[in-house]
Protein backbone atom coordinates (compact mmCIF):
# COMPACT_ATOMS: atom_id res chain seq x y z
CA UNK A 1 0.00 0.00 0.00
CA UNK A 2 1.37 3.36 -0.94
CA UNK A 3 1.51 6.13 1.59
CA UNK A 4 2.18 9.68 0.75
CA UNK A 5 3.65 12.47 2.85
CA UNK A 6 1.13 15.12 3.76
CA UNK A 7 1.85 18.39 5.56
CA UNK A 8 -0.84 19.27 8.09
CA UNK A 9 -1.09 22.49 10.06
CA UNK A 10 -2.82 21.67 13.33
CA UNK A 11 -3.34 24.17 16.13
CA UNK A 12 -0.62 26.36 14.72
CA UNK A 13 1.95 23.55 14.51
CA UNK A 14 3.22 21.87 11.35
CA UNK A 15 3.09 18.10 11.13
CA UNK A 16 4.34 15.80 8.40
CA UNK A 17 2.62 12.41 8.24
CA UNK A 18 2.74 9.47 5.87
CA UNK A 19 -0.88 8.62 5.13
CA UNK A 20 -2.90 6.40 2.86
CA UNK A 21 -5.46 7.98 0.49
CA UNK A 22 -8.28 6.49 2.50
CA UNK A 23 -7.18 7.71 5.93
CA UNK A 24 -9.67 10.16 7.38
CA UNK A 25 -8.47 13.23 9.27
CA UNK A 26 -10.08 11.80 12.41
CA UNK A 27 -7.99 8.63 12.18
CA UNK A 28 -4.77 10.56 11.55
CA UNK A 29 -5.40 13.07 14.37
CA UNK A 30 -6.06 10.32 16.87
CA UNK A 31 -3.77 7.50 15.71
CA UNK A 32 -0.82 9.17 14.02
CA UNK A 33 -0.54 12.52 15.75
CA UNK A 34 -1.88 11.48 19.14
CA UNK A 35 -4.49 14.21 19.47
CA UNK A 36 -7.27 12.09 20.94
CA UNK A 37 -9.44 14.99 22.07
CA UNK A 38 -11.48 14.72 18.87
CA UNK A 39 -13.78 11.74 19.37
CA UNK A 40 -14.66 8.81 17.13
CA UNK A 41 -18.36 8.08 17.50
CA UNK A 42 -20.66 7.28 14.57
CA UNK A 43 -18.19 7.72 11.70
CA UNK A 44 -21.10 8.62 9.40
CA UNK A 45 -21.65 12.31 9.99
CA UNK A 46 -24.64 11.82 12.27
CA UNK A 47 -23.31 12.80 15.69
CA UNK A 48 -20.81 15.66 15.48
CA UNK A 49 -18.40 14.20 18.05
CA UNK A 50 -15.56 14.54 15.53
CA UNK A 51 -16.17 18.24 14.88
CA UNK A 52 -13.00 20.23 14.18
CA UNK A 53 -12.59 23.70 12.71
CA UNK A 54 -10.88 23.94 9.32
CA UNK A 55 -10.22 27.39 7.84
CA UNK A 56 -12.68 28.87 10.32
CA UNK A 57 -15.56 26.48 9.60
CA UNK A 58 -16.86 23.61 11.70
CA UNK A 59 -16.52 20.35 9.76
CA UNK A 60 -16.57 16.62 10.48
CA UNK A 61 -13.16 14.97 10.69
CA UNK A 62 -14.63 11.49 10.12
CA UNK A 63 -15.73 12.51 6.62
CA UNK A 64 -12.61 14.51 5.71
CA UNK A 65 -9.85 12.76 3.80
CA UNK A 66 -6.45 13.64 5.26
CA UNK A 67 -5.07 14.23 1.78
CA UNK A 68 -7.68 16.96 1.34
CA UNK A 69 -6.81 18.67 4.64
CA UNK A 70 -3.33 19.60 3.47
CA UNK A 71 -2.62 23.32 3.31
CA UNK A 72 -5.50 24.26 5.60
CA UNK A 73 -5.61 25.63 9.14
CA UNK A 74 -6.95 22.86 11.36
CA UNK A 75 -8.10 23.68 14.87
CA UNK A 76 -8.91 20.87 17.31
CA UNK A 77 -10.11 20.94 20.92
CA UNK A 78 -6.51 20.76 22.06
CA UNK A 79 -5.79 24.06 20.37
CA UNK A 80 -8.46 26.35 21.71
CA UNK A 81 -6.82 27.34 24.96
CA UNK A 82 -3.28 28.46 25.72
CA UNK A 83 -2.52 25.26 27.65
CA UNK A 84 -2.44 26.99 31.02
CA UNK A 85 -6.04 28.06 31.47
CA UNK A 86 -9.34 26.97 30.02
CA UNK A 87 -11.07 28.73 27.17
CA UNK A 88 -14.22 30.62 28.29
CA UNK A 89 -16.38 28.12 26.39
CA UNK A 90 -14.81 25.23 28.32
CA UNK A 91 -15.27 27.12 31.61
CA UNK A 92 -18.92 27.81 30.84
CA UNK A 93 -19.57 24.14 30.06
CA UNK A 94 -18.04 23.10 33.39
CA UNK A 95 -19.77 25.82 35.42
CA UNK A 96 -23.20 24.96 33.97
CA UNK A 97 -22.92 21.19 34.37
CA UNK A 98 -23.03 20.70 30.61
CA UNK A 99 -20.61 17.75 30.77
CA UNK A 100 -21.43 14.23 31.99
CA UNK A 101 -19.48 11.47 30.27
CA UNK A 102 -17.64 14.06 28.20
CA UNK A 103 -17.62 12.14 24.91
CA UNK A 104 -19.68 14.70 22.99
CA UNK A 105 -18.03 17.65 24.69
CA UNK A 106 -15.07 18.37 22.41
CA UNK A 107 -17.42 18.35 19.41
CA UNK A 108 -19.93 20.55 21.27
CA UNK A 109 -17.20 23.04 22.24
CA UNK A 110 -15.84 23.24 18.68
CA UNK A 111 -19.35 23.64 17.25
CA UNK A 112 -20.02 26.33 19.86
CA UNK A 113 -16.84 28.16 18.90
CA UNK A 114 -17.84 28.09 15.23
CA UNK A 115 -21.38 29.21 16.12
CA UNK A 116 -20.16 32.15 18.18
CA UNK A 117 -17.78 33.16 15.43
CA UNK A 118 -20.75 33.50 13.07
CA UNK A 119 -23.30 34.74 15.60
CA UNK A 120 -21.61 36.35 18.64
CA UNK A 121 -24.73 36.57 20.81
CA UNK A 122 -27.07 33.84 19.55
CA UNK A 123 -30.67 33.45 20.69
CA UNK A 124 -31.76 30.12 22.15
CA UNK A 125 -33.18 29.12 18.78
CA UNK A 126 -29.92 30.00 17.05
CA UNK A 127 -27.97 27.96 19.60
CA UNK A 128 -30.24 24.96 19.07
CA UNK A 129 -29.86 25.25 15.34
CA UNK A 130 -26.12 25.87 15.50
CA UNK A 131 -25.54 22.82 17.68
CA UNK A 132 -28.09 20.61 15.94
CA UNK A 133 -25.26 18.60 14.41
CA UNK A 134 -23.99 17.52 17.82
CA UNK A 135 -25.60 14.72 19.80
CA UNK A 136 -25.43 14.12 23.53
CA UNK A 137 -26.81 10.96 25.12
CA UNK A 138 -26.29 12.15 28.68
CA UNK A 139 -27.30 15.70 29.40
CA UNK A 140 -30.55 16.36 27.57
CA UNK A 141 -28.96 19.53 26.13
CA UNK A 142 -30.57 22.05 28.52
CA UNK A 143 -27.33 22.79 30.38
CA UNK A 144 -25.36 22.92 27.14
CA UNK A 145 -27.72 25.62 25.89
CA UNK A 146 -27.47 27.44 29.24
CA UNK A 147 -23.67 27.32 29.03
CA UNK A 148 -23.61 28.75 25.51
CA UNK A 149 -26.19 31.43 26.38
CA UNK A 150 -24.06 32.57 29.30
CA UNK A 151 -21.09 33.41 27.09
CA UNK A 152 -20.46 37.01 26.27
CA UNK A 153 -19.78 38.15 22.75
CA UNK A 154 -16.03 38.60 23.36
CA UNK A 155 -15.37 34.85 23.44
CA UNK A 156 -16.26 34.38 19.80
CA UNK A 157 -12.76 35.16 18.57
CA UNK A 158 -10.98 32.00 17.45
CA UNK A 159 -7.41 31.61 18.64
CA UNK A 160 -4.90 33.05 16.23
CA UNK A 161 -3.27 29.88 14.90
CA UNK A 162 0.06 31.57 14.37
CA UNK A 163 0.39 32.03 18.13
CA UNK A 164 2.61 29.37 19.60
CA UNK A 165 1.71 28.13 23.06
Amino acid sequence: MTRRIVKLRINGDDHEVAVKSWDTLLEVLREEIGLTGTKNSCGLGNCGACTVIIDGQAVLACLTLTVEAEGKEILTIEGISDGNSLHPIQKAFIEHGAIQCGHCTPGMVMATMALLDKTPKPTEEEIRKGLSGNFCRCTGYVKVIDAVSSLSSEVSKMPDSTDKH
Partner: protein
Amino acid sequence: MRLPKFEYLKPKNISDACSLLKDHKGSARVFAGGTDFLVSLKQRISTPPYVIGLNSIEGLDYIVDNNNNGTRLLRIGALTTLTAVSSSDLIKKKFPILADSSCNVASEQIRNMGTIGGNICLDTRCWYYNQTKLWRDIRPPCFKTGGSVCYAVKSGKECHAANSSDTVPALIALGAKVKIVNANGDKMVTLEEFYTGKGEPVNILNDDEVIEEIVIPESPESSKESFIKLTIREGLEFPIVNSAVLLTMDDSGKKCMDASVLVGGVLSYPFRAKKTEETLKGNKINENLIEEASKIATEGMGPIAHILHAPGYKRQMVQVCVKRALRKTIRTC
Protein backbone atom coordinates in the same frame (compact mmCIF):
# COMPACT_ATOMS: atom_id res chain seq x y z
CA MET B 1 -15.73 2.82 10.61
CA ARG B 2 -12.91 2.69 8.09
CA LEU B 3 -13.01 3.57 4.44
CA PRO B 4 -12.18 0.87 1.89
CA LYS B 5 -8.93 1.16 -0.08
CA PHE B 6 -8.89 3.46 -3.08
CA GLU B 7 -6.52 5.57 -5.09
CA TYR B 8 -7.20 9.29 -4.76
CA LEU B 9 -6.97 11.37 -7.93
CA LYS B 10 -6.74 15.15 -7.94
CA PRO B 11 -7.96 16.78 -11.18
CA LYS B 12 -6.64 20.21 -12.17
CA ASN B 13 -9.96 21.37 -13.61
CA ILE B 14 -13.33 20.01 -14.56
CA SER B 15 -12.37 18.73 -18.01
CA ASP B 16 -9.46 16.90 -16.38
CA ALA B 17 -12.00 15.30 -14.01
CA CYS B 18 -14.14 14.21 -16.98
CA SER B 19 -11.09 12.75 -18.77
CA LEU B 20 -10.15 10.81 -15.65
CA LEU B 21 -13.71 9.47 -15.43
CA LYS B 22 -13.63 8.48 -19.08
CA ASP B 23 -10.21 6.82 -18.82
CA HIS B 24 -11.20 4.74 -15.83
CA LYS B 25 -14.38 3.53 -17.54
CA GLY B 26 -16.79 3.25 -14.63
CA SER B 27 -14.24 2.32 -11.94
CA ALA B 28 -13.79 5.92 -10.83
CA ARG B 29 -16.28 8.06 -8.92
CA VAL B 30 -16.21 11.77 -8.23
CA PHE B 31 -17.06 13.47 -4.96
CA ALA B 32 -17.01 17.00 -3.59
CA GLY B 33 -17.92 17.45 0.10
CA GLY B 34 -18.09 13.69 0.59
CA THR B 35 -20.78 13.87 3.25
CA ASP B 36 -22.88 11.24 1.45
CA PHE B 37 -20.29 9.63 -0.81
CA LEU B 38 -17.78 8.75 1.92
CA VAL B 39 -20.59 7.33 4.05
CA SER B 40 -21.61 5.02 1.19
CA LEU B 41 -17.99 3.89 0.94
CA LYS B 42 -17.81 3.20 4.67
CA GLN B 43 -20.98 1.13 4.38
CA ARG B 44 -19.47 -0.69 1.37
CA ILE B 45 -22.46 0.29 -0.78
CA SER B 46 -19.87 1.36 -3.31
CA THR B 47 -16.14 0.49 -3.43
CA PRO B 48 -14.65 2.31 -6.43
CA PRO B 49 -10.93 1.63 -6.97
CA TYR B 50 -10.44 5.30 -7.94
CA VAL B 51 -11.89 8.31 -6.23
CA ILE B 52 -11.69 11.77 -7.81
CA GLY B 53 -11.72 14.71 -5.39
CA LEU B 54 -13.47 17.65 -7.03
CA ASN B 55 -12.90 20.08 -4.16
CA SER B 56 -9.38 20.76 -5.38
CA ILE B 57 -10.79 22.41 -8.52
CA GLU B 58 -10.74 26.16 -8.16
CA GLY B 59 -13.28 28.52 -9.55
CA LEU B 60 -16.35 26.31 -9.29
CA ASP B 61 -17.79 27.86 -6.17
CA TYR B 62 -19.51 31.08 -7.11
CA ILE B 63 -22.88 32.80 -6.91
CA VAL B 64 -23.24 35.27 -9.74
CA ASP B 65 -26.06 37.46 -11.00
CA ASN B 66 -25.89 37.63 -14.80
CA ASN B 67 -27.76 39.69 -17.30
CA ASN B 68 -28.17 37.47 -20.36
CA ASN B 69 -29.81 39.42 -23.19
CA GLY B 70 -32.25 41.12 -20.89
CA THR B 71 -33.03 38.05 -18.76
CA ARG B 72 -31.46 38.01 -15.34
CA LEU B 73 -29.99 34.67 -14.41
CA LEU B 74 -28.49 33.38 -11.22
CA ARG B 75 -25.51 31.14 -11.83
CA ILE B 76 -24.23 28.94 -9.02
CA GLY B 77 -21.07 26.87 -9.33
CA ALA B 78 -21.64 23.21 -8.52
CA LEU B 79 -18.96 23.24 -5.81
CA THR B 80 -20.60 26.09 -3.85
CA THR B 81 -21.20 24.87 -0.31
CA LEU B 82 -24.71 24.73 1.10
CA THR B 83 -23.62 27.21 3.78
CA ALA B 84 -22.59 29.69 1.08
CA VAL B 85 -25.88 29.20 -0.77
CA SER B 86 -28.00 29.60 2.37
CA SER B 87 -26.17 32.69 3.59
CA SER B 88 -25.96 34.54 0.27
CA ASP B 89 -27.82 37.84 0.51
CA LEU B 90 -28.68 37.66 -3.16
CA ILE B 91 -30.24 34.21 -2.82
CA LYS B 92 -32.04 35.10 0.41
CA LYS B 93 -33.60 38.13 -1.25
CA LYS B 94 -34.38 36.90 -4.76
CA PHE B 95 -34.68 33.12 -4.35
CA PRO B 96 -35.78 32.64 -0.73
CA ILE B 97 -36.86 29.01 -1.15
CA LEU B 98 -33.35 28.12 -2.24
CA ALA B 99 -31.86 29.79 0.83
CA ASP B 100 -34.53 28.22 3.03
CA SER B 101 -34.12 24.69 1.68
CA SER B 102 -30.31 24.69 1.68
CA CYS B 103 -30.24 26.04 5.23
CA ASN B 104 -32.33 23.05 6.34
CA VAL B 105 -30.06 20.34 4.99
CA ALA B 106 -28.49 18.15 7.70
CA SER B 107 -26.32 20.13 10.13
CA GLU B 108 -23.98 23.16 10.17
CA GLN B 109 -20.96 20.93 9.75
CA ILE B 110 -22.43 19.04 6.81
CA ARG B 111 -23.59 22.28 5.16
CA ASN B 112 -20.05 23.65 5.49
CA MET B 113 -18.71 20.63 3.62
CA GLY B 114 -21.56 19.65 1.30
CA THR B 115 -22.09 21.32 -2.07
CA ILE B 116 -25.17 22.23 -4.04
CA GLY B 117 -23.99 20.00 -6.89
CA GLY B 118 -23.74 17.16 -4.41
CA ASN B 119 -27.22 17.79 -3.06
CA ILE B 120 -28.57 17.71 -6.62
CA CYS B 121 -26.77 14.41 -7.31
CA LEU B 122 -27.72 13.00 -3.88
CA ASP B 123 -28.24 9.26 -4.02
CA THR B 124 -31.76 8.01 -3.41
CA ARG B 125 -32.34 6.51 0.03
CA CYS B 126 -34.01 3.46 1.46
CA TRP B 127 -34.10 1.69 4.82
CA TYR B 128 -32.43 -1.38 3.32
CA TYR B 129 -29.88 0.35 1.08
CA ASN B 130 -28.42 2.80 3.56
CA GLN B 131 -26.96 0.22 5.89
CA THR B 132 -23.57 -1.46 6.25
CA LYS B 133 -22.75 -4.48 4.14
CA LEU B 134 -22.86 -6.70 7.21
CA TRP B 135 -26.45 -5.63 7.83
CA ARG B 136 -27.55 -5.84 4.19
CA ASP B 137 -26.11 -9.33 3.76
CA ILE B 138 -28.85 -10.80 5.93
CA ARG B 139 -31.15 -10.54 2.92
CA PRO B 140 -30.66 -11.06 -0.81
CA PRO B 141 -29.57 -7.84 -2.52
CA CYS B 142 -32.20 -5.38 -3.70
CA PHE B 143 -32.48 -3.81 -7.16
CA LYS B 144 -30.25 -0.90 -6.15
CA THR B 145 -27.48 -3.20 -4.91
CA GLY B 146 -27.47 -5.46 -7.95
CA GLY B 147 -30.23 -7.85 -6.98
CA SER B 148 -33.81 -8.44 -8.09
CA VAL B 149 -36.09 -7.48 -5.26
CA CYS B 150 -37.37 -4.27 -3.71
CA TYR B 151 -37.77 -4.16 0.06
CA ALA B 152 -39.66 -0.88 0.05
CA VAL B 153 -42.55 -1.71 -2.28
CA LYS B 154 -44.16 -5.14 -2.00
CA SER B 155 -43.71 -7.06 -5.26
CA GLY B 156 -41.91 -4.01 -6.60
CA LYS B 157 -40.50 -4.52 -10.07
CA GLU B 158 -37.84 -1.85 -9.82
CA CYS B 159 -36.02 0.29 -7.28
CA HIS B 160 -38.24 2.67 -5.32
CA ALA B 161 -35.61 4.37 -3.18
CA ALA B 162 -36.64 7.94 -2.32
CA ASN B 163 -35.17 11.16 -3.63
CA SER B 164 -34.18 12.88 -0.39
CA SER B 165 -32.70 16.18 -1.43
CA ASP B 166 -34.05 19.39 0.10
CA THR B 167 -32.73 21.85 -2.46
CA VAL B 168 -34.01 19.96 -5.51
CA PRO B 169 -37.78 20.60 -5.15
CA ALA B 170 -37.00 24.29 -4.57
CA LEU B 171 -34.66 24.42 -7.56
CA ILE B 172 -37.20 22.76 -9.85
CA ALA B 173 -39.95 25.11 -8.65
CA LEU B 174 -37.62 28.00 -9.53
CA GLY B 175 -37.09 26.59 -13.05
CA ALA B 176 -33.43 25.69 -12.58
CA LYS B 177 -31.27 24.16 -15.28
CA VAL B 178 -27.99 22.28 -14.83
CA LYS B 179 -24.92 22.28 -17.05
CA ILE B 180 -23.63 18.76 -17.60
CA VAL B 181 -20.00 18.46 -18.73
CA ASN B 182 -18.16 15.50 -20.25
CA ALA B 183 -14.89 14.99 -22.11
CA ASN B 184 -16.50 16.07 -25.40
CA GLY B 185 -18.44 19.14 -24.38
CA ASP B 186 -21.40 20.28 -22.35
CA LYS B 187 -25.17 20.56 -22.41
CA MET B 188 -27.92 22.23 -20.39
CA VAL B 189 -30.90 20.29 -19.13
CA THR B 190 -33.76 21.36 -16.89
CA LEU B 191 -33.37 19.96 -13.40
CA GLU B 192 -36.72 18.25 -13.81
CA GLU B 193 -35.35 16.24 -16.76
CA PHE B 194 -32.17 15.42 -14.83
CA TYR B 195 -33.85 12.62 -12.87
CA THR B 196 -34.68 9.26 -14.42
CA GLY B 197 -37.81 8.74 -12.33
CA LYS B 198 -36.33 5.57 -10.88
CA GLY B 199 -34.52 4.78 -7.67
CA GLU B 200 -31.56 3.47 -9.65
CA PRO B 201 -29.98 5.00 -11.68
CA VAL B 202 -30.95 8.22 -9.95
CA ASN B 203 -30.09 10.73 -12.67
CA ILE B 204 -29.09 10.90 -16.32
CA LEU B 205 -25.36 11.46 -15.74
CA ASN B 206 -23.19 9.01 -17.65
CA ASP B 207 -20.07 7.50 -16.08
CA ASP B 208 -17.90 10.28 -17.50
CA GLU B 209 -20.14 13.26 -16.70
CA VAL B 210 -20.14 15.90 -13.99
CA ILE B 211 -22.38 18.88 -13.17
CA GLU B 212 -20.58 22.19 -13.49
CA GLU B 213 -23.19 24.85 -12.88
CA ILE B 214 -26.79 25.54 -11.89
CA VAL B 215 -28.64 28.34 -13.67
CA ILE B 216 -31.84 29.84 -12.31
CA PRO B 217 -33.94 32.48 -14.09
CA GLU B 218 -35.07 35.43 -12.02
CA SER B 219 -38.60 34.98 -10.70
CA PRO B 220 -41.18 37.66 -11.54
CA GLU B 221 -41.43 40.48 -8.97
CA SER B 222 -44.96 39.41 -8.06
CA SER B 223 -44.09 35.81 -7.24
CA LYS B 224 -44.66 34.19 -3.87
CA GLU B 225 -42.72 31.16 -2.78
CA SER B 226 -42.33 28.91 0.22
CA PHE B 227 -40.59 25.75 1.36
CA ILE B 228 -41.77 23.28 3.99
CA LYS B 229 -39.82 20.32 5.33
CA LEU B 230 -41.40 17.69 7.55
CA THR B 231 -38.99 15.78 9.75
CA ILE B 232 -39.06 13.65 12.88
CA ARG B 233 -36.53 15.81 14.72
CA GLU B 234 -35.80 19.44 14.03
CA GLY B 235 -32.28 18.99 12.76
CA LEU B 236 -29.92 16.59 11.00
CA GLU B 237 -32.76 14.85 9.19
CA PHE B 238 -33.62 13.80 5.68
CA PRO B 239 -37.18 14.86 4.86
CA ILE B 240 -40.18 12.64 5.51
CA VAL B 241 -41.80 14.91 2.94
CA ASN B 242 -40.76 18.31 1.68
CA SER B 243 -42.55 20.73 -0.58
CA ALA B 244 -41.54 23.80 -2.57
CA VAL B 245 -44.10 26.15 -4.04
CA LEU B 246 -43.66 29.08 -6.44
CA LEU B 247 -46.73 31.10 -7.41
CA THR B 248 -46.67 33.79 -10.08
CA MET B 249 -49.33 36.33 -9.19
CA ASP B 250 -51.17 38.97 -11.20
CA ASP B 251 -50.72 42.72 -10.66
CA SER B 252 -53.15 42.78 -7.75
CA GLY B 253 -51.07 40.10 -6.05
CA LYS B 254 -54.14 38.07 -5.18
CA LYS B 255 -54.79 35.94 -8.25
CA CYS B 256 -52.42 33.13 -9.21
CA MET B 257 -51.37 33.14 -12.85
CA ASP B 258 -48.98 30.21 -12.70
CA ALA B 259 -47.99 27.66 -10.07
CA SER B 260 -45.14 25.25 -9.46
CA VAL B 261 -45.74 22.76 -6.66
CA LEU B 262 -42.99 20.22 -6.05
CA VAL B 263 -42.91 17.41 -3.49
CA GLY B 264 -39.76 15.57 -2.46
CA GLY B 265 -38.80 12.74 -0.12
CA VAL B 266 -41.59 10.46 -1.26
CA LEU B 267 -40.96 9.11 -4.77
CA SER B 268 -37.66 8.34 -6.50
CA TYR B 269 -37.80 11.73 -8.13
CA PRO B 270 -39.18 15.15 -7.11
CA PHE B 271 -42.87 14.96 -7.89
CA ARG B 272 -44.74 17.80 -9.56
CA ALA B 273 -48.27 18.02 -8.14
CA LYS B 274 -49.86 18.87 -11.50
CA LYS B 275 -53.47 18.62 -10.32
CA THR B 276 -52.71 21.06 -7.51
CA GLU B 277 -51.05 23.43 -9.95
CA GLU B 278 -54.05 23.29 -12.30
CA THR B 279 -56.46 24.02 -9.46
CA LEU B 280 -54.46 27.08 -8.41
CA LYS B 281 -53.94 28.62 -11.84
CA GLY B 282 -56.26 31.50 -12.66
CA ASN B 283 -57.79 31.64 -9.20
CA LYS B 284 -57.62 33.85 -6.13
CA ILE B 285 -55.51 32.20 -3.46
CA ASN B 286 -57.56 31.84 -0.30
CA GLU B 287 -58.00 29.24 2.42
CA ASN B 288 -60.76 27.37 0.52
CA LEU B 289 -58.71 27.09 -2.63
CA ILE B 290 -55.67 25.96 -0.65
CA GLU B 291 -57.77 23.27 1.04
CA GLU B 292 -59.11 22.07 -2.29
CA ALA B 293 -55.75 22.20 -4.07
CA SER B 294 -53.76 20.40 -1.38
CA LYS B 295 -56.28 17.52 -1.10
CA ILE B 296 -55.45 16.44 -4.65
CA ALA B 297 -51.69 16.89 -4.34
CA THR B 298 -51.06 13.13 -4.43
CA GLU B 299 -53.01 12.53 -7.62
CA GLY B 300 -50.71 11.05 -10.21
CA MET B 301 -48.28 9.66 -7.63
CA GLY B 302 -47.40 6.06 -8.24
CA PRO B 303 -46.93 3.57 -5.39
CA ILE B 304 -45.28 5.18 -2.39
CA ALA B 305 -42.48 3.10 -0.92
CA HIS B 306 -42.46 2.06 2.71
CA ILE B 307 -39.22 3.68 3.76
CA LEU B 308 -39.17 4.36 7.50
CA HIS B 309 -42.78 5.60 7.33
CA ALA B 310 -45.94 3.90 6.12
CA PRO B 311 -47.09 4.86 2.61
CA GLY B 312 -50.53 5.88 3.90
CA TYR B 313 -48.93 8.28 6.36
CA LYS B 314 -46.65 9.72 3.68
CA ARG B 315 -49.58 10.21 1.33
CA GLN B 316 -51.44 12.19 3.99
CA MET B 317 -48.34 14.18 4.85
CA VAL B 318 -47.89 15.20 1.21
CA GLN B 319 -51.30 16.87 1.43
CA VAL B 320 -50.41 18.48 4.76
CA CYS B 321 -47.06 19.80 3.52
CA VAL B 322 -48.50 21.20 0.32
CA LYS B 323 -51.24 22.90 2.36
CA ARG B 324 -48.69 24.37 4.77
CA ALA B 325 -46.48 25.53 1.91
CA LEU B 326 -49.42 27.21 0.18
CA ARG B 327 -50.55 28.89 3.40
CA LYS B 328 -47.03 30.12 3.98
CA THR B 329 -47.00 31.82 0.56
CA ILE B 330 -50.00 33.97 1.38
CA ARG B 331 -48.60 34.83 4.77
CA THR B 332 -45.63 36.44 3.07
CA CYS B 333 -47.76 39.07 1.35
